[in-house]
Symmetry: C2
């Protein structure tokens, strides 16, 4: 919906040959994309380029051709021969590299300290210092967070290029200085605010949102609203961005989507199920305990993921074997014999057992067939039984058949359990 053509565009180049062998997943691209979108840019592309000067230059020219006002690069600022971002960006801007004496002294201090710790010194170190203190003529150098300075390089006719180091900690640490650099500040003053709204749904297929958009679009002009959908952690995220002037339409559309799909709504303000579960448990002063079989501890791991979770997570048992279910969570052996280890009865007993053993207010039981083995005709791969019980008598049970690989099924099981906990602790409309 809408091309969002009014927003200035930005592009990202992440460098490093290791990104192109699949050896490593890039963390800087998504991080920078989120920051740039938050500043109001439309991010046109994220491009990964290896440590080859021609490829990096071609990537910069590609982004210039895509009409971006700003390019942010990550990586290639180190002391070794394949660290060549500064040089290539200078060439892209049509200027030469000049030594920055103040920066050289600064880097020398940092490296002296590092050399003392690691035993590295000598001509190789001096050469590295000299190389890292070269700055494209007219560019602004950003103080190092690790050892390498960043750069802000204004190319005549655009785009503005911000050059940042590759290690995520250094890149993120340097970002505030980059955003505060005069040339970047000037550019930002021309960017309209993001006006973004994020809706989350559980159990709603993407095609339903598409149908709603088509229907609403018949009576309203939605061309000023950009709508993106994406499935994440088994939730459908609907992302609305208004172009300047279309803010009211976007708000109205968000309201209509929420109203029409209220049954599946998780949050209308962008909160995650993890945040909502934590809030709900803290709000009621409840603790939660888990009895997991097929998810093998992943639900407990997800619950304690948040800082401060010790206030509401009592603990959990991973009871993979039948003996462990009985010995550690008190699931009657004859119940397992009668109904099978994967059954709604056992899920309930796991929930009650966890609640009892940890003295918790909320118990969660999960038992299922994650596959690839262990299935029967009645209990195929993906059949998972969930139960959430609370001290005040709520019992919520589900036994869906989940799709996908072993990893998918376990991940979706954890997602499903989180939503079931939320419903048990913060019932809709409550």
């Amino acid at each position: 919906m809408g091309e969002g053509a009014d927003r200035p565009r930005a592009g990202i180049v992440v460098t490093g040959s290791e990104l192109l062998t699949g050896a490593i997943s890039d963390a800087n691209g998504p991080w920078l994309a989120r920051e740039l979108a938050g500043l109001g840019f439309e991010v046109a592309h994220v491009v990964a380029a290896g440590d080859r000067p021609d490829d990096l230059m071609r990537a910069l020219e590609f982004l210039a051709g895509a009409g971006v006002a700003l390019v942010v690069t990550s990586g290639g600022l180190g002391p070794t021969a394949d660290d060549l971002t500064g040089e290539v960006v200078a060439g892209f801007a049509g200027v030469d590299l000049v030594p920055d004496e103040a920066m050289r002294v600064r880097i020398e201090e940092i490296l002296a300290d590092w050399g003392a710790r690691t035993g590295f010194a000598g001509p190789a170190l001096d050469e590295a210092t000299r190389k890292q203190a070269l700055v494209p003529r007219g560019a602004t150098a950003l103080p190092p967070v690790g050892t390498a300075p960043g750069l802000v390089v204004d190319r005549p006719g655009g785009p503005l290029v911000v050059v940042l180091p590759g290690p995520p900690r250094e890149l993120q640490g340097m970002w505030p200085a980059a955003v505060a650099a005069p040339a970047v500040k000037d550019l930002l003053s021309t960017v309209p605010p993001a006006n973004a709204r994020l809706l989350r749904f559980f159990g709603l297929p993407e095609s339903e949102i598409a149908a709603t958009l088509r229907e609403v679009g018949e009576s309203r002009d939605l061309s000023g609203v950009e709508v993106g959908t994406c499935l994440r952690h088994s939730e459908l995220e609907v992302d609305l961005r208004a172009r300047p002037g279309a803010e009211a339409v976007a708000e109205e559309l968000a309201g209509l989507i929420v109203e029409r799909h209220a049954r599946n709504l998780v949050s209308a303000e962008g909160a995650t199920v993890d945040e909502l579960v934590a809030q709900a448990l803290l709000g009621k002063g409840f603790t939660v305990a888990t009895g997991e079989s097929c998810t093998g501890g992943l639900l407990a791991g997800r619950l304690v993921d948040r800082a401060g979770s010790s206030a509401y997570v009592a603990g959990g048992v991973v009871a993979y074997s039948n003996e462990a279910k009985t010995a550690l969570l008190g699931v009657p052996a004859e119940m397992i014999a009668t109904h099978g280890a994967v059954s709604p009865e056992v899920a309930r007993a796991l929930a009650d057992g966890a609640r009892d053993r940890f003295g918790a207010d909320v118990g969660v039981g999960i038992t299922g067939v994650a596959g690839p083995g262990g299935s029967t005709e009645a209990k195929p791969v993906g059949y998972v039984c969930f139960c959430v019980t609370t001290a005040d008598g709520t019992v919520l049970a589900r036994d869906p058949r989940l799709r996908g690989s072993r990893a998918d099924i376990r991940e979706r099981s954890v997602d499903t359990a989180m939503h079931l906990i939320l419903r048990a602790v913060a019932p809709r409309g409550a």
Copy 2:
């Protein structure tokens, strides 16, 4: 080391506006890069493009300009209006879209089944079916793994374009069919084998490998070997690729690296610590049980990640509170009072308690300060105590201070525990 210029190049385009708002991290780019590198291609670029036809077309043209012989795209094959990869790739190849009747029937069957289960149906579904069954003239359609078919589109003058769906499960499921498609097979017959070798080390800094490479490079010509290093799951992965003719040098170099860093070697043949732990436990007929505090179930989750893990994972307890440590794993309350919940003593008691309660052969205890709260001067954030004990009397303990955020510390704790289990069950040189 070396430009690998002899290899045919490939490019990857991942599509989806959600990749450009930072809402989601792309999993397909790294996966495809690894596959393509494994097939012997040099991957030139991974480009993320939003759901805008112009941007997608420009990305394809950029890759063609970078001299790639093969482009693989992911995403944009769904039923909604912003799913336009098929259409744009048809335009890129200079052909029109034509309905594929057999494919339409196939998709209709799949969607009918899905509609019956979810209760969704009607004109929106018919329209989605029609759209997804459109194929660029002359292209090969690849059978759907989810609902969307893939495509192999041969552009006159190159590159060959393989169009795959966005959900990782569907993309990975369709990959064997894509690689087996006649046009792709023809191209692959011209690609020299990758000759890749992957070495894994634990506890070895990258600079040590760099030093070894410098030293070996003084007496040997290493220009035919491309060496990449990358830190993943706390392991240093060293990836060696030989250009045609340099296979023997690469083998010799791999041998020298392994010999020099034998103390830190995890595997010289690419096996992961997860595989090695599973093999070692199965080989000895051992079962393992966990007593986790700060990692909150993530170690148990990692252990049961593998299919068939019920043969060697007995279970685990997430004992977040002191009461749970005592009640469920028998950690003496006075031990906690004397030494603190985060102490080598409690780690040992957690390991022994888990082993005892689950009747397992190997027990693992983890307790630490994941932060941001809970630290003291003596026990700062990142201080984590590990202990692995076995029924035959082995006791391995560590209490390092790990770096990074809460999530980093928990992840590194799980990695460290996996390596400690491996050492306990399969001692080096045994």
